[in-house]
Symmetry: C4
Subunit: 232 residues, 4 copies
């Protein structure tokens, strides 16, 4: 995939966020990475989805964050995306949304629990709600530190980021990732639906009972070495 | 109805699940049975609804589960459908969805209570939430045992599967059935609406008061020997 | 308005229920009355909205319930409509729906409280949730007695049916009425929105605080002798 | 912007309320002001959105409320808009809606708390739920006093109306404002989404934990002297 194709995919992934109903106004952004070239393609900041084109996508250097292609400013959240790409080496795409139910969990400062097969088909463990940033972190490099805290959370809790491809920035909202920009957008839609289901489950049964063997089974039948879901 | 017509109906029933808003991505499947030939027609696994055609439907032998027609793999949940058809002899069609509110009850490990006439018009008793599968059952034949536990639940509780045509696989979601694939899809839509109403009822009045005589009346005026609802 | 025009309006009112999102499948019906002729026009039973025409409307005698025009069976709920027309002499149209949030209150066996101006613009007092029918009433004439219990509720509580044009049949759902079939359908849409707002209000503040003077003001600025809302 | 352009913008802002899903029937109104001429342009009262044209907008004198252009009666809520324009001198547009979740908070008599960055990007402090009007205020000039109580609330609590551009009229619903009519409509959509998220947050975590430094950061990166969100 060349850079022009990656721009198109990142553009498509941004529109998918709208199509999935995850975005109000311009509140979302998707990016993709070319690991060989060390370049990240990301949505420009605050541009309406209706008029955006693939050529509006902004290209950044992974290591420096420097703009190497594009006339618009990149998404304000670009440093968060970059931190995720730098730490999680198998990630090919990342998205950020303010999808309603996932935000509700982030604002409640709670992990989104994996309490059923709908989420277990895509997320192996609860979606962690990260710690608050310190005032110093906010002051120093707010968006970059948001990404660092996500990375810290996964490392400290020993979560595999490819098996649980999302995190909640506390009192903010979800960041999701995946093998590609489109895959990350897909995961964002699963996360929102899971957050909605878990919200209602929490009201119907606050103990949130889980069935570990079932979760294990569902995740592994789709993603394990002997996966048998889907064609081929 | 010949096999080609059954494929068309099963295809239509799958699209109905989308039309009713019960399915996100490819998370649902519908099947129908030809009792005389002992053949079950079911959706292929993981195929997008947008590109699916009636000819993509997969034909299985009821008794063996062997594919006798079709080039695609059948839905991963096919063994659950087969177990339902084998045990409930008057069932002509079955569907599985991850519809949001029904899943919430399944994740809360609670039966969906019949607390009003909306559900009582189609479901005579609470929709049972089945027991968890044991790790051994999950290991042995996960999808088949999911069906077996549904059958076990109806037998142990003495529920008539044609009068209460749905069950909740615990921490998973609803399986519904009916006289045909389209009827099963219809029941799945009623179940979801009933689950939504019951969710809000449970929050407004946790005692979930029922009026048995009313439930009896509504079910029987539509389905009893002297039914008088609808034309003819 | 002649009978043909009334059929058209009743037909339109039935479609309005669908347009307002109050009806799933065929779960709703609207009727209108010609007081001079003593004739009630009502939707046929169980006919899909997509294929229904104005000529499918059924004409009944107000006093006897006898069909005087139309080849289809009238809505099963016709006797409830007739009871409302007989007792509430200024009613020109009536509708029944299973709209989601209004049903939730009916199933919770609670009145829908008037806790804000949105509902107070159209409903002067809480929407009463009627008592359960006795098994004898259900046996004798279920649909007629459903109407009788609505009438009984308004008489015993001293509610003016034109100022509070709706009731909840317990564990069933809302019946609404108004000056015409279209007005009744409009009121049904206001009721559902009010029920939704009241549901959330009840969760945010279970004491459901009311401001009587405000309710009085809003109702009277639209409906009182010195009403000044709208044009003319 | 001349008066004809302002009528067009106010018309557009009214339709935006419908587009954003904030309005059922005719329950909403938007206005804009020409500060130099001292004229306010506002939606007419009770006119359906489908047939309304820019020329139906009504022009009022800011100081007297007298109609200076237009054949229709202005929105019943015009005196509330005028009170807001008179007290908050930087306001260029105002809207009133009965959007579902914001109304739920107003009916619960609770401020909408700012518990996340989604709302903090546009609202610096909790949206205040104003005190009830006294029966005397309701009697004297209901709509005007509704505006006066909003102004009183902001003064007494020391809230900057341009940094927190909305208020809840108790047991009624939201009034929002902004730099223009379109900006006010935009803020109304953010308020409704924030109200929905806060509703769910309150159910998941009634303590509603806030992160002050984060709120401060998000508001200032969009609206502070060193704002860096968006293009330019």
């Amino acid at each position: 995939m060349n850079l022009s194709e990656l721009k198109q995919e990142v553009f498509d992934a941004n529109l998918k966020l709208v199509h999935y109903g995850l975005v109000l106004h311009t509140w979302g952004n998707a990016s993709g990475i070319d690991r060989e070239k060390g370049l990240v393609v990301i949505k420009p900041s605050g541009v309406p989805y209706e008029t955006m084109t693939p050529d509006d996508m902004v290209v950044l250097e992974l290591e420096t964050g420097k703009i190497v292609d594009g006339v618009l400013k990149p998404s304000t959240d670009a440093p968060t995306h970059l931190a995720i790409y730098r730490a999680f080496e198998r990630v090919g795409g990342a998205v950020h949304t303010h999808s309603t139910h996932a935000v509700a969990w982030a604002q409640a400062q709670r992990d989104i629990p994996i309490v059923g097969t709908t989420c277990a088909d895509y997320f192996y463990r609860s979606i962690p709600c990260c710690r608050s940033l310190t005032p110093e972190e906010i002051e120093r490099d707010y968006e970059g530190e948001t990404g660092n805290v996500i990375v810290e959370t996964f490392r400290e809790r020993g979560i595999d980021p490819m098996a649980t491809p999302a995190a909640l920035a506390r009192n903010h909202g979800p960041f999701c990732w995946g093998k590609s920009a489109l895959d990350a957008a897909f995961n964002a839609s699963v996360l929102e639906e899971s957050a909605k289901m878990a919200f209602m489950t929490a009201l119907l049964n606050p103990t949130l009972p889980v069935d570990e063997a079932l979760i294990e089974k569902h995740y592994s039948r789709k993603h394990g070495p002997n996966a048998y879901y889907g064609q081929r």
